[in-house]
């Protein structure tokens, strides 16, 4: 397919461009290729499979990591190719046609991008990516207004580049407030209000989270920023082209955008910089004064053209893509939940971008799951942090327990994902989770504990999973659990509390909050209560007390 594509593009290019320049291009290219690389055997791909990093797989894995990056849309590549091959002028060259046509293409891309976000083309500044845009926004704004403004508000779940820029400012003596988020990953507007100070110079909150896909209440945050006249920066790299973005509605002053998250090329991004009221930044990169002096350096015309074209396509196809991705997400989630229990969605269920599904599989460690899922390209969190062993800081900010944070997998669905891919991913995931659970001592202990409760205490506890599910909750006809809809969470927690009290365990601090669990009729709450109860049971199962209690029981029974 790729060769077809390239051939068709080349055909286009060749008919448009002059024969002379093209031949010249190719003759040099061929010469370079002969000189540089002798016909090298493919280093890791051969007909029998792929061996890389010690892992052998039968073929290329299916790609479900669209938050890390996306493939370039063939239409985008079509738009880009002429600017590599024949229209290679420097857009800043004012003296010849090559420069003029490149400049025209860049300006065209600028308006394609501004169209997608409801801005004016003059408010778009090209950068190398969202990381650079975030850096310019945070450091640039604060450095510019440093005499009066000494305080920045951001959230704990921001992308690493925002957090790191803030750390950098902290070292320079600025003060930063890292707002906590709720268990659904959404920032609390009251807390945001409370955090605002007279010297607050910037509020930076991302639109769509890269790890868990939750969408922040942008309009409401924008309102607050307007009220206090504070510049509002948002990292919209994961939001652009996926959810409707409107700089007027959101009232943002600065916005970071990225090309390779929306089926455009890597290495290009943009910064939206509001003109009315004007927001000013100090440039990070000095030089030839391109992009109104805010970001010097020759613009990469082909990449920018690709970015612009990707934005245009995204604008046209956003609704269609959204419906499709939504259906695929449901297919993935339902497929997995049909087969295995103990699957938890991290982050808000309602306010989320459908293409990002972050799941935790209780009692299975994420990295080992990923290792078994080599035929599915997924990640356990953001690509930037997937090398470290630490559980995701985003999940920890959500209050996800460390043990559950270790079990998360992010499935990223995109424009080119297919139903067959989703089905295969479901199949492999289920197979692997079942295998690892059989191997998991935690899973074993949990069942042991439940059966202990059932048999020894005569309590009506069904060894359902991951919580206390009564036999009534079991749908015998369909062989299925009514997952927790019928479970009275407060009854469950009361039962646990009683049980702990009975064995004098309730006085210990780690069990205290079990009794504080309350059911407020909210489904989300049921989920969190369930997890809480489940967690307590686990802690108990792992603790010395459980062992001692168990021994005591046995000693008693044998005594009788």
């Amino acid at each position: 397919m790729a060769s077809k594509l390239l051939a068709s593009t080349l055909r286009q290019t060749l008919t448009k461009a002059t024969a002379y320049s093209v031949t010249r291009q190719f003759s040099t290219a061929a010469a370079v290729s002969v000189a540089a690389a002798a016909p090298a055997p493919d280093s890791y791909e051969d007909p029998n499979g792929i061996i890389m990093k010690g892992v052998k797989i039968a073929g290329r894995p299916l790609y479900l990591d669209m938050q890390a990056t996306t493939p370039v849309d063939p239409r985008v590549l079509d738009a880009m190719l002429p600017f590599f091959l024949s229209r290679y002028g420097n857009p800043h060259s004012r003296t010849h046609l090559f420069g003029w046509e490149s400049d025209l293409a860049v300006e065209n891309a600028r308006s394609q991008i501004s169209d997608l976000i409801g801005a004016s083309p003059k408010e778009i500044i090209f950068t190398s990516g969202a990381t650079e845009s975030n850096n310019i926004s945070i450091k640039g704004v604060m450095h510019f207004y440093k005499d009066k403004k000494r305080h920045v508000i951001t959230t704990q779940t921001e992308h690493k580049c925002v957090l790191d820029s803030c750390r950098h400012l902290q070292q320079e003596g600025f003060e930063i407030t890292y707002l906590p988020v709720g268990s659904d990953g959404i920032v609390d507007l009251k807390e945001l209000r409370a955090a605002i100070r007279p010297d607050t110079g910037l509020i930076s909150i991302m639109a769509v989270n890269n790890e868990i896909g939750v969408i922040q209440p942008m309009e409401e945050i924008g309102e607050i920023c307007k009220e206090f006249k504070i510049p509002f920066h948002t990292d919209a790299a994961q939001a652009l082209g996926k959810i409707p973005v409107d700089v007027e509605k959101w009232n943002v002053s600065l916005m970071s955008l990225s090309g390779h998250k929306i089926y455009g090329p890597k290495g290009v991004g943009a910064l939206y910089l509001r003109r009315r009221p004007r927001i000013r930044v100090e440039p990070l990169i000095n030089g030839g004064g391109q992009e109104r002096g805010l970001r010097s350096g020759t613009l990469p015309t082909p990449l920018i053209v690709g970015f612009g074209s990707a934005c245009e396509i995204a604008k046209k196809e956003m609704d269609y893509d959204h419906k499709r991705i939504m259906a695929l997400q449901d297919r993935l989630l339902n497929g997995i939940r049909e087969k295995i229990d103990g699957v938890v969605i991290n982050g808000s269920v309602e306010r989320r971008y459908a293409g990002n599904l972050n799941l935790s599989f209780a009692y299975v460690e994420g990295e080992s799951l990923l290792m078994g899922l080599k035929e599915v390209a997924v990640s356990s969190g953001s690509a930037c942090t997937s090398a470290s062993l630490e559980p995701s800081y985003v999940l920890r900010a959500l209050g996800v327990d460390e043990d559950m944070a270790h079990t998360s997998i992010r499935f990223g669905i995109g424009r080119f994902s297919t139903e067959a891919e989703i089905d295969r991913a479901v199949e492999l995931t289920v197979k692997q989770v079942v295998k690892l659970r059989e191997m998991s001592p935690l899973y074993e202990m949990f069942f042991f504990l439940l059966s202990l409760l059932t048999e020894k205490e005569g309590v009506n506890v069904w060894p359902g999973f991951p919580c206390l599910v009564t036999p009534e909750a079991y749908d015998w006809e369909n062989n299925n659990f009514h997952l927790f809809d019928r479970v009275e969470a407060d009854a469950a927690s009361a039962f646990i509390a009683l049980w702990l009290e009975k064995y004098n365990l309730s006085s210990q601090s780690q069990y205290e909050d079990v009794q504080q669990l309350k059911w407020n009729g909210d489904k989300q709450m049921v989920a969190s209560v369930r997890n809480e109860v489940c967690k307590r049971l686990l802690i108990f199962a792992l603790s010395e007390e459980a062992y001692l209690f168990h021994r005591r029981r046995i000693a008693e029974s044998s005594h009788k």
Binding site: V22, D42, M52, G54, M439, S440, P441
Partner: protein
């Protein structure tokens, strides 16, 4: 001519991709050794023994919050003190699973005192674990020691053998 040209471009593209990726590959450590993959794909001796059987020693180490929990059990021949069988269950990364799998293989057929000399470095060497994964092999060493200790504690007490059938029912 068109086909030729596009082929050349394609060829150039892939070759370029390689020449860029190859040095990077050489710099990066290999992620998993084939022994790790083997033990992960075909773990040896997965399962559980009855915890209260007097001939069984159980070692449970690690914490879920750290991402690794290892349960290793040994079955000991009471007369000779030889470990006749071993089982494990592990919650953790591939290296942790492989470490515990290797540990169960190594302890089988050995004397109790002998297995205490198994060092984490030997396990790590066998699996070529990278430095960030060394804690997995340490956990395996700890699990072996804990299992032996548990068995010895049981023997010195000798209090629970009659409870075994009851426990079996609960374990089911």
């Amino acid at each position: 001519m068109l086909r030729l040209a596009s082929k050349r471009v394609l060829g150039l593209a892939t070759r370029d991709g390689q020449s860029v990726s190859r040095p990077a590959q050489a710099v990066l450590p290999r992620f998993y050794h084939e022994n790790v993959i083997d033990h992960y794909n075909n773990p040896r001796n997965v399962g559980s023994f009855d915890k209260n059987d007097p001939t069984i020693g159980t070692g449970l180490v690690g914490a879920p919050a750290c991402g690794d929990v290892m349960k290793l059990q040994i079955k000991v021949d009471e007369k000779s003190g030889q470990i006749v069988d071993a089982r494990f269950k592990t919650f953790g990364c591939g290296s942790a699973i492989a470490s515990s799998s290797v540990a169960t293989e190594w302890v089988k057929g050995k004397q109790m005192q002998e297995v205490l000399t198994i060092k984490n470095t030997e396990i790590a060497k066998h699996l070529s674990l990278p430095p960030v994964k060394l804690h997995c092999s340490m956990l395996a060493e700890d699990a072996i020691k804990a299992a032996v200790k548990d068995y010895e504690a049981k023997r010195s007490k000798g209090t629970i053998p009659e409870a075994a059938p009851v426990e079996k029912a609960a374990d089911a």
